[in-house]
């Protein structure tokens, strides 16, 4: 288990290095280095360029070679000192990220919970009522909702609840009531996706013979569904809920931009728009880290939930058996003088001698 974890962590770090190299490489290809931006005046670089400009120039100036810029940044990434961003020279990149992340997180957590709360019952219902009205109806609705982009749905919500009824604020981020529309808008597509997944997973389990066996033991339909079918069909869901959460936690560009939420998505778009190399590198690396960590957690959870995988990784009873067989087969060797005749084939008796001790 420890070895497995260590291997996974090494792979995680290698992935992060790869991501940083690709991002940095791409940014070098894009016109507009720090030197260009500095030359074109400080209009794009907010704040007081005089004080912090020197530090930026020191890090990313025209006379600093690209590989050194990269190494400087990476050193900063490891020591949590990524330096100032082009656009916000007073704030360091890590400050910016750590300010925005809680905002995105406070949308992602409720949105994920909402997804689970709605998608699982719908999926189960659709599977149990397969080929009936409840199945067709829910799947039709979900498919339609999935086809509707989240930001359009957000606009719709704004039109109804903010403009029409006036019960919710239109945009901004200054209280819990501001969370409602973005959370619902963010959850709608994951709900559709997850519910269909739950349905498929349930149907797969329902076809298994152990379901019949459980009924043959006299189980109530509800008990069998809950204790056996639902439990087993939830296991593969971890693999899909993990990425859904990661996606939401790293910010959603459209919704955050549309509703004026200062989350990671907005930070990223700003960085991209202004070609803010340090901030882009920082956010990209952070996104990659979140995704990789969640993937790791998903895999670990999976083995916790599914005994088959858990025991594959640390099988105790299998391992003790096999070597015995090896030793046993070796036991033939000490039988002193093994006859020289190489052909002990049972069938090659044509010209064979009977083996004599």
């Amino acid at each position: 288990m420890i070895g497995y974890l260590a291997r996974r962590l090494v792979r995680l770090i290698l992935s992060l290095v790869a991501v940083s190299l690709i991002t940095f490489g791409l940014l070098q290809l894009v016109p507009g280095s720090f030197a260009d931006l500095a030359d074109s005046g400080t209009s794009d670089l907010g704040g007081d360029s005089a004080t912090s400009g020197s530090e930026l120039a020191q890090r990313y100036g025209a006379d600093v070679p690209a590989w050194e810029q990269y190494l400087t940044f990476m050193r900063g990434a490891v020591t949590l000192d990524m330096g100032p961003s082009y656009r916000y020279p007073q704030a360091t990149v890590e400050d910016l990220i750590f300010d925005a992340f809680p905002v995105s997180l406070s949308l992602a957590v409720p949105a994920t919970l909402l997804t689970l709360l709605i998608a699982i019952p719908i999926g189960v219902l659709a599977a149990v009522k397969k080929d009936k009205l409840a199945d067709y109806g829910s799947i039709f609705t979900l498919t339609s909702l999935q086809a509707l982009p989240g930001y359009l749905f957000a606009l719709l919500l704004v039109l109804i609840f903010s403009v029409g009824l006036g019960v919710l604020p239109v945009r901004g981020w200054s209280g819990p009531e501001y969370m409602i529309i973005p959370v619902v808008a963010l959850a709608i597509q994951p709900i559709a996706m997850l519910a269909r997944y739950v349905r498929t997973s349930m149907l797969e389990e329902l076809r298994e013979e152990y379901v019949i066996a459980a009924h043959a033991k006299g189980g109530q339909r509800r008990t069998v569904l809950g204790r056996h079918v639902l439990r087993n069909s939830m296991i593969p869901l971890v693999t899909i809920v993990g990425p859904i959460f990661a996606q939401l936690a790293t910010g959603t560009v459209f919704i955050e931009a549309l509703l004026g939420i200062p989350g990671l998505g907005r930070l990223f778009t700003t960085a991209a728009r202004t070609r803010d190399m340090p901030l882009l590198m920082g956010t990209t690396l952070f996104f990659a880290l979140v995704f990789l960590l969640i993937n790791l957690i998903v895999d670990l959870t999976y083995s916790l939930l599914d005994p088959r995988i858990r025991h594959e990784q640390s099988s105790s009873w299998r391992r003790t058996r096999r070597p015995l067989r090896l030793r046993a087969s070796k036991s033939r060797e000490p039988g002193t003088d093994r006859p020289a005749a190489p052909d002990r084939s049972p069938g090659a008796s044509d010209t064979m001698e009977v083996v004599r001790p």
Binding site: A216, K217, L326, P346, G347, E353
Partner: protein
């Protein structure tokens, strides 16, 4: 049809009044509503099972055995329409309310399934699965339930039940899992067990163990309904038999009466087609021995009576064996020669010697059977011979060519001469190509002939295996399993190979189809002069088809010899145990104990009688040399 009220005299129980049967099924009819709304009949049945009785329902796949039994407990999907009556202890199962029926499922009637791996929930421990229904039915509390579950595991012969009950199904071996499932179905104390092919997926020795568990349960007073296609299994466990075909009852009889004199033509066909091991067969009676000449028999006897083997020098010995092995009608040119083959698979749990130091030869026009339980290395051996996988050590020659040293072109040429038939015909055919295209696929790969010639060849080949040429443009899925296997055989024959490697070619097929395929293979062998390596776990099939049989256990050859010798005079304890575990239909089964103590690894292969090799421990092998006819 008149249901036969079975005589439970043979069961020797039901002293307390056999007047009313435990289960009485009258006019059970099952049909499935198709999407178009039509009713498609699936099964109809009327049977009686007395308390402590045992009824076998036999028939081929699709005959409605499983459907009718599941209909009794109303375990079929909603599309099933069931009518009739099924009285169990005075209640009509088909008229009970859902909650009343639930009280019968489990505590009244237990059910055992074919595949324990799928019938047990893989993510719950045995403890959960063996105790949950005790509490659903309010039979006892959690603690008592665990105690009863441990008892049940103990009763079905699972060692260390206290430890094993905490395990997951996949942590148990196949036979153990099957027994755990039986424990699950008896823990609630049912009076009737419905066993649906409970041993079909198991090796013969494990099958025997599981059947003995069921037999023990019968002795404890349970009644059993056994669904099976294996008449040997049916005979072993049951007093009465019902034959089903296409959803209809064909015949009901007592088991002994059925085997002795089945009335219906279909029943007789089923009996004739069923492969039956004949353990009393003397070499002279067996078909393979019939082919051998008097010269060989004389050779055998000479060796057998030659007490003073010191007097025989090497040349005499060689001459004797040569004499024995060159009977006039069968040419014994060596086609395949494999020496000291080893295949080690490197797995997570350490190295596995799948094939360990195996040497075999296959002569021209000879059929060599490789038998053994699952995991004995049979299939690995076949793949090594064809160099589909690379051996870890050893040598293989095919008609004098070194197969392992062959470079691309040579190997390509050699593979033309060896073809393979697989267990699952549908899986081995290309589903999106017509049957003709499938059959000539090898010709295309090896660039043999023009398109027109290939088409002609396809028609010939299909005719050879008994597929009407006008069906050549149909697709594999439009054929039955047996026909698909014929097509696969036709494809294997397309390149006119010299060696046909058949890996369990009939084990996925029904018995009557199996008999047809075996006849076909036998016929082809005679007509085309094929050599064959025939891998099977079914000893009866091997006895029927093979000239020589090699018995493998955990990667080793434990015994090898002429078929008749092996079956009539097995020498190795493992072979003896394997043969004793087989359930014959017409003869009584041999008393049997699990041969757990047999060590298949020790010893050297020793020729005890000409061409009959046995792996004997060193000490015994010395004795064997002095008394070759022991």
């Amino acid at each position: 049809m008149n249901p036969v009220t079975t005589s439970s005299t043979t069961a020797g129980a039901s002293a307390d009044g056999p007047a009313r049967p435990l289960l009485s099924v009258r006019d059970l009819r099952v049909a499935f509503r198709s999407r178009a709304g039509e009713l498609v009949p699936a099964a109809s049945l009327s049977v009686d099972v007395p308390a402590n009785g045992a009824l076998a329902i036999v028939g081929e796949s699709g005959s409605g055995k499983t459907v009718s039994m599941r209909a009794l407990l109303r375990l079929l999907p909603d599309s099933a329409v069931v009518s009739g009556e099924a009285h169990f202890e005075g209640q009509d199962l088909l008229a009970l309310s859902e909650s009343e029926l639930r009280r019968v499922r489990g505590p009244g009637i237990g059910m055992i399934f074919q595949n324990a791996m799928s019938a047990l929930n893989p993510t719950r421990t045995l403890k959960v699965q063996l105790t949950e229904h005790l509490r659903w039915h309010g039979i006892c509390d959690r603690k008592e339930a665990v105690r009863r579950a441990v008892d049940a595991l103990d009763r079905v012969g699972i060692p260390e039940p206290e430890r094993r009950i905490r395990m997951y199904p996949f942590q148990l071996s196949g036979g153990m899992r099957q027994r755990a499932m039986i424990a699950m179905s008896i823990v609630a104390g049912p009076r009737l067990l419905i066993a649906d092919e409970p041993t079909t997926a198991l090796d013969v020795t494990i099958q025997r163990q599981v059947l003995d568990v069921l037999k023990g349960l019968r002795d404890d007073g349970l009644a059993v309904i056994m669904i099976t296609h294996d008449l040997g299994v049916a005979r072993y466990l049951c007093d009465d038999v019902v034959v089903m075909k296409d959803g209809q009852m064909v015949e009901t009889a007592t088991m002994d009466g059925f085997v002795a004199a089945a009335e219906q033509p279909y029943s007789r066909r089923l009996l004739d087609a069923a492969p039956d091991v004949d353990l009393r067969a003397e070499p002279s009676r067996s078909r393979s021995a019939a082919k051998t000449t008097a010269a060989e028999k004389t050779g055998t006897e000479t060796t057998a009576t030659a007490d003073d083997h010191e007097s025989r020098d090497a040349t005499d010995d060689a001459a004797a064996t040569q004499n024995a092995n060159r009977p006039a009608p069968v040419s014994r040119k060596v086609l395949v020669q494999a020496n000291d083959l080893v295949k080690i698979f490197h797995g997570r749990g350490g190295d596995v010697r799948a094939v360990d130091d195996v040497s075999i030869t296959i002569g021209a026009n000879e059929t060599v059977g490789v038998v053994g339980e699952s995991g004995s290395g049979k299939s690995t051996l076949a793949r090594l011979l064809m160099r589909l996988i690379e051996p870890s050590a050893g040598a293989v020659t095919f008609d004098g060519h070194d197969v392992l040293a062959a470079r691309k072109a040579e190997l390509y040429g050699l593979r033309r001469r060896i073809q393979m038939v697989f267990q699952n015909p549908y899986g081995s055919l290309l589903p999106h190509q017509t049957v003709a295209a499938n059959v000539i696929e090898p010709l295309r790969v090896h660039k043999v002939g023009t398109a027109a010639e290939r088409r002609k060849r396809a028609a010939e080949l299909l005719e050879l295996v008994g597929i009407p040429p006008e069906r050549a443009s149909q697709y594999p899925r439009q054929f039955s399993g047996g026909q698909q296997q014929r097509i696969a055989i036709a494809r294997a024959l397309a390149l006119e190979p010299e060696l046909l490697v058949c890996d369990e070619p009939t084990s996925a097929l029904d018995v009557s189809i199996q008999a047809q395929i075996l006849d076909l293979l036998d016929d082809l062998k005679q007509r085309l002069g094929l050599s064959m390596l025939f891998i099977t776990h079914n000893l009866a099939v091997a006895q029927r088809l093979c000239d020589r049989v090699i018995v493998m256990a955990s990667g080793h050859i434990v015994e090898a010899g002429p078929t008749a010798d092996i079956f009539a005079r097995p020498r190795h304890p493992y072979t003896k145990a394997l043969l004793a575990a087989v359930l014959p239909i017409r003869t009584d089964p041999v008393p049997w104990q699990p041969a757990a103590a047999v060590d298949t690894h020790v010893g050297e292969l020793v020729e005890v009688t000409p061409r009959h090799w046995v792996r004997l421990p060193q000490t015994e092998s010395a004795a064997g040399q002095r008394h070759p006819a022991m």
